[in-house]
Subunit: 196 residues, 2 copies
Amino acid sequence: MIETGARRREIDEVASGLFHANGYAATSVRDIAKALDIQAASMYAHVSSKEDVLFSIVEAAATAFERSAAAATADVSANDPVDRLAALVEAHVEVITADPERSSVFVTEWRHLSPGRRDAIGTRRDAYEARFRSTIEDGLAIGAFHATDAALAATFLLTALNGIATWYRPDGRLSGDRIADHYVDLALRALSEDHR
Amino acid sequence: MIETGARRREIDEVASGLFHANGYAATSVRDIAKALDIQAASMYAHVSSKEDVLFSIVEAAATAFERSAAAATADVSANDPVDRLAALVEAHVEVITADPERSSVFVTEWRHLSPGRRDAIGTRRDAYEARFRSTIEDGLAIGAFHATDAALAATFLLTALNGIATWYRPDGRLSGDRIADHYVDLALRALSEDHR
DNA sequence: CGACACTCCTAACGATCGTTAGGTAGGAGG
DNA sequence: CCTCCTACCTAACGATCGTTAGGAGTGTCG
């Protein structure tokens, strides 16, 4: 019985901001309620536990990353590993800059999920990371990428990308698009054999 | 009156492991005490608050990063920006892999410090990041690095490097040295004009 | 009009939090 | 032997935690 009403979405939105700013464990149900101008007990008309709120946020973020990556690589022009990696990087940056708070909660707070839910998200994270890794492996196979450890290179890239969620500010010096451009360039240069 | 006895150091060590595994806010003083086989109240014979323990860990980590970077760039051969960046990356990876728990607490939990201490650490972090940024700027000035946004490139690199603290395991597939080698390579390729 | 769903309230529950007070056992140094 | 110090103990403090129980107001739909 998952509630999807407007108030329920407001809870996720407000909680994302607080979890992002202070962390899940340091944010109380009363903090979230206060931001919504209601009593803590009233939260339980919409959610069944604090962890449910975290899961809902993390779930939505995971889905956003998956959908964005799938859409970016569905493009027929993304058959070339170099183009595909560029598309993956760009898609990842776009998801983060579109909702940095939700994204940073996804990246940093998922360990506070219950074991079952944590495992489920972990599996999806592994599959997502595998998109990057196998793209790098494909590039290595055709000689487009410089010989390296594909798994390590994927981790290098993804941690750099996820870091954006921790420092990005919508009113900052660089727009999401500019960051995406720069990060695509850095990623391709780090890996390509002749990307100049 | 900062205590520096053996027991005090044990507290930092045990607390680093717990803060790394569960986060500062989700770790209780009783958790730390239990890992030391003493009562929670007995902790206060050695520390004056839970936050003191966090600060002590973060402080030590900050000093380790600063010292390692200073030693790496003191080398006369590090006058070339490319060599200097390589030395900075290698030094950073070494500090992390030498004590990943302390490093990850430094990277992820410092926001739970009191405002004054947080600011002090923030200033030191900024200075440390400036080492990377100015090295990149120096490389740009002599044409050794591909034209890019130096501040953004430094952030890209540092977040990728700090990510190591979150996934590195001493008994993992790759040794700290191997990781350092790969990351130096990825960093120089990402930035250099002709690093092949 | 009546039923129902939605949203929020007050009050309170037991658990756990960081921390303090006050005391004791054991070893070191005079 | 006596004193001091270190390291630990039991007991408890007030605060805050996530959560439940039970009720009330409001709007919608038949």
